[in-house]
Symmetry: C2
Subunit: 142 residues, 2 copies
């Protein structure tokens, strides 16, 4: 299974020219903690998270309605592709303390957003299935 | 194992009279996404999360330095105790879309903070151990 299978495959995205307020509105609407910033060709330009809202906007005393997203987004984004496994994604997220990882195609265009929660839940499900098969090997073979 | 074993047992906490800016400062310092609001006896009075910063402060256009935490924290907090199992905590967190669950003693005083990430990681570890024992039952019995 590809990482894409554990992803939000219709994640919200926003243009770098948008304001922080608009990005927040989209995140709240989609009930997500991070949004991918994409250019007109849907190529990933950055990521903006609720941690960024806290640190770079609220704590910094900026006005969300007057702050362009391009000023506060993270530009150097770690990206996954369709070839990335869930284990690889998990390792990156756990070691670098990321909660989200955009998944892109060969042109860098956004395909989906992997979250550590979805990947961990999927891992638990996989392990439970493996365990059930181990406990009932004959039944599993039939 | 108690839920406490999977917890941050020294979580940051803050008084309801503090400002949002102070709560944010403590969350950023501890690198956590939620902080428990406690009274002078350390009894849990509420919880405040980075989602709240996004929704109730930044999006609402409030000034973090002038907004008392008591105005924007969540008061009716779901709480866990030392008797709560990790499965019970996980069920509550997944069904209610909570990422954090304060753990309290019989008097409602803060003992630790469980996060869905820690609980899921612990679950993965448990299942991997079980699976290893299933695969090598003889070795496991010795």
């Amino acid at each position: 299974m590809s990482l894409l299978d554990f992803c939000d495959q219709n994640p919200p995205s926003v243009a770098p020219e948008s304001t922080v307020a608009e990005a927040i509105r989209l995140m709240l609407e989609a009930r997500v903690g991070a949004i991918t910033v994409v250019d007109a060709e849907r190529v990933v330009a950055g990521i903006f998270t609720e941690r960024d809202v806290m640190r770079r906007v609220a704590y910094a005393g900026l006005d969300p309605a007057r702050t362009p997203l391009a000023d506060v987004m993270t530009r150097a984004v770690e990206l996954a592709t369709e070839a990335t496994t869930d284990s690889e994604a998990l390792t990156v997220m756990l070691t670098r303390h990321y909660r989200h990882l955009p998944v892109v195609d060969a042109q860098g265009r956004l395909l989906g957003m992997a979250s550590i929660r979805h990947v961990l839940c999927a891992r638990v499900d996989q392990l439970l299935q493996e365990l059930a098969q181990q406990k009932a090997p004959t039944a599993a073979r039939n």
